[in-house]
Symmetry: C2
Subunit: 457 residues, 2 copies
């Protein structure tokens, strides 16, 4: 209760959050903590009462940005108790041999595998600390007059309709956001959605005598060039396995035999862990899901609407930053509200301008990281570069932070992370050119001296 009344300035602003997923519920906590009257509308039933939701990824990688936003509402410890640390990538080659590639060789920082459902439950339950935060489940948005703060919901079960009038609408309703769809019609709203030609299916490696069937503290990757499989550990000692592959390759796997042959050829070491029967059954009953990248700008309309999380910047999952970027939105909004108080017009405008380039950058980096994960990690040139990066980071920890580390283990704006990477590339390229030049000159001189001493000249 002390938190809820922390700020007692004019908090008459009524905030309506659409979407009770991870970012929606964390935003409710951040805004509830500031003392606003917050109403959160979620079209599904309360996740705390329901079974696992199909078609969404089961676990996620929590890193520094997400952790900070949780800490700000007093939740880091609770989550670290439930997260499984992953210290680096465990690469599985075609013969099943594994190689460990740490994320952070110098300070051993790691990312955490957390369950989506579990995390969502913790966040929703935490809102109970704030009597000014109200949760409304089974409310599906039907129509909206955003500029008038009017939203119309329907209960999908009873078909009962509800009208809501609010000062500010925050769309936290994910990659296929209904709030964003309404914003699309507003002049000046830039938007892009890009699907990649790869889809994914989720499989499962069960626990083995109540133990993990593989070493748990790693993100396991089977990089196969044009496609890949990954596995993240769950609290119950199972693994969530995700196969990413072009849709056209999925289409070729029609029969049980096709599936089994494909896995035996590319992921032979995983087959006994998943189990042949379960593999075939799970694969056959799942349709490959699409992966979309969404960029837009601005994220707000006047002081009336704001987009956060995937609704503002959905990304492909290959940098593990989707949730973290959404959580960081909450941190940023809090920082900006500290600066502007209740002046939402100024605050939302600054939010858009501060955030959009960083969000676009992490969307691009996530796209790039798919190539790194499925292909580059297996190359010698990549490993040499990583060793050089790790060494330079070790001797210059404040100056030379490698891209993965700045993205995952710092709060550096994403755009700055990429800029850093670019000047690092420049320096290395120039150094290589100089070294190559020096080497050639030395060799030529060496030959000359040798020939001279041999009295040929």
């Amino acid at each position: 209760m002390s938190q809820a009344t922390q700020s007692d300035s004019n908090k008459s602003t009524k905030i309506t959050i659409v979407g009770g997923g991870l970012v929606g519920s964390l935003a409710a906590l951040h805004l509830g903590k500031r003392g606003y009257e917050v109403h959160l509308y979620e079209y599904r039933d309360d996740i705390r009462k329901s079974q696992l939701v199909a078609g969404r990824s089961i676990n996620l990688a929590l890193s520094a940005r997400g952790r900070r936003a949780l800490t700000e509402v007093g939740l880091e410890d609770v989550l670290l108790d439930h997260g499984i640390p992953m210290r680096g990538r465990m690469l599985h080659d075609i013969k099943g041999r594994t190689t460990f590639v740490p994320y952070d060789r110098n300070t051993n920082q790691c990312i955490y595998s957390v369950g989506r459902k579990h995390l969502n439950e913790i966040l929703l339950t935490a809102t109970e600390n704030y009597p000014n935060v109200h949760l409304h489940f089974n409310h599906k948005l039907m129509t909206a007059k955003l500029k008038h703060g009017e939203l119309n919901f329907v209960n999908p079960n009873t078909r009962e309709t509800f009208q809501v009038n609010t000062d500010l609408v925050i769309g936290c309703d994910g990659a296929y956001s209904a709030i964003r769809k309404h914003m699309l019609q507003h002049h000046g709203f830039d938007y892009s959605q890009t699907y990649i030609e790869h889809g994914y299916i989720e499989l499962c490696i069960p626990s083995n005598n109540n133990e993990f069937a593989m070493p748990p503290n790693y993100l396991h990757i089977w990089p196969r060039g044009k496609f890949m499989m990954i596995a993240l550990p769950n609290q119950d000692k199972t693994w969530t396995v995700t196969l990413f592959m072009p849709f056209k390759n999925f289409e070729k796997l029609k029969s049980s035999q096709d599936i089994l042959l494909f896995f035996e050829e590319h992921f032979a070491d995983a087959v006994p862990l998943i189990g042949e029967r379960r593999l075939i059954e799970d694969f056959a009953k799942t349709k490959p899901q699409h992966l979309v990248s969404v960029k837009c700008h601005p994220y707000h309309i006047d002081a009336k609407v704001l987009l956060m999380g995937d609704a503002a910047h959905a990304m492909v999952p290959f940098f593990g930053q989707g949730m973290n970027a959404g959580f960081e939105d909450c941190t940023l909004l809090s920082q900006i509200l500290d600066k502007y108080g209740d002046d939402f017009k100024a605050a939302l405008s600054e939010f858009s301008e501060t955030r959009w380039e960083n969000a676009h950058t992490i969307c691009d980096l996530a796209m790039y990281n798919y190539i790194e994960m499925r292909d580059l990690v297996t190359r010698l040139s990549f490993r040499i570069r990583k060793s050089v990066d790790d060494f330079l980071f070790w001797i210059m920890p404040t100056k030379w932070m490698p891209l993965y580390n700045s993205v995952s283990f710092s709060h550096m704006p994403y755009k700055k992370c990429l800029e850093n990477r670019k000047w690092q590339d420049n320096i290395l390229n120039r150094t290589i050119a100089t070294l190559t030049g020096t080497l050639i000159a030395t060799l030529v001189y060496g030959c000359f001296v040798y020939i001279k001493n041999s009295s040929i000249i």
Copy 2:
């Protein structure tokens, strides 16, 4: 009638076109000519009975691609009778001095200024030649189940609702397409909308004793670096004048005095032509309009939906290709239907794959051409390059077609036009480098000979 029954193969396919603007009515003609049952739904009243529609550009530039598509339905002559040829750009400098820059110095090809309303009326009237084409005005799309071919319309005046069931929906409903909005929800539909930070307002130069107040056979441009004004001639001897400028500059012009001072400073020669009072009145009552560029892909869903014209590829108006590209869509669809007959599944897929890269290219070129029109045209380097292009085009008319000419006066795919420009740039850059090198070498040699002859060495 002979046209309507030209193809008497199985034409049981019912086609519903949404949008009765330029592309919608031309598409109805093309498909009507092929013998399909075509229903065209337009949310406005019949333009032939109504006043000029506000908020849309009044006249347009018709060039080769548009002309071909009109010729294919027997309409070129009708239109050329009503179009006003524009042989090139007439640049107005800050002192009111004019320079003529022809579009095609060698063969004198020109573009035609045509009135949107007039052209739309001709197209709609021409559909009366096809008893299999049915026009439905005052039908506004409310909801759609695209995959089921179910559309629901409402009459905005009577509020009466209509359900339409159809085999194929063609969305020709413009840059803010309702059909496309429904496609946005389909997985795999890539989409982007980008607004530029410049807006536009339309003004008018009245006729002078029933004559044009400026030489009529040109597209007049007042290029001013960061902004520009253009004027296109109308049949009634008036000019439609369009001012393109950053929104922030529009915002600065609040009072009548601001407006007049601004025009006196930048477009002094146009002020007496527009008339001070009319200028101030028209400027004050008009809100600057937004300019949007839309790209998407694919343009179809199965054999059920297709986007054409601005609905598929809205572009900024600076290459004068918006309507022409939309009309070329009709040509392309006809060519593809010639190949596939009634196999719409194959035909629509080929339409998307053939068209999207070309459409994206012309969207980009239109964006680039704003910089050319408002700024580059005034630069010496631009004029030298244009002279070189014109000369090379003159001696190699099939090999060296400049970009503007290939876009406006040929049917070359837009992507190929841009590729041509790129290799032309390459050759010119290399030639300049070689010439510069030769010149420097000659100078150095000259100096050396001079010094030697002067017996300094």
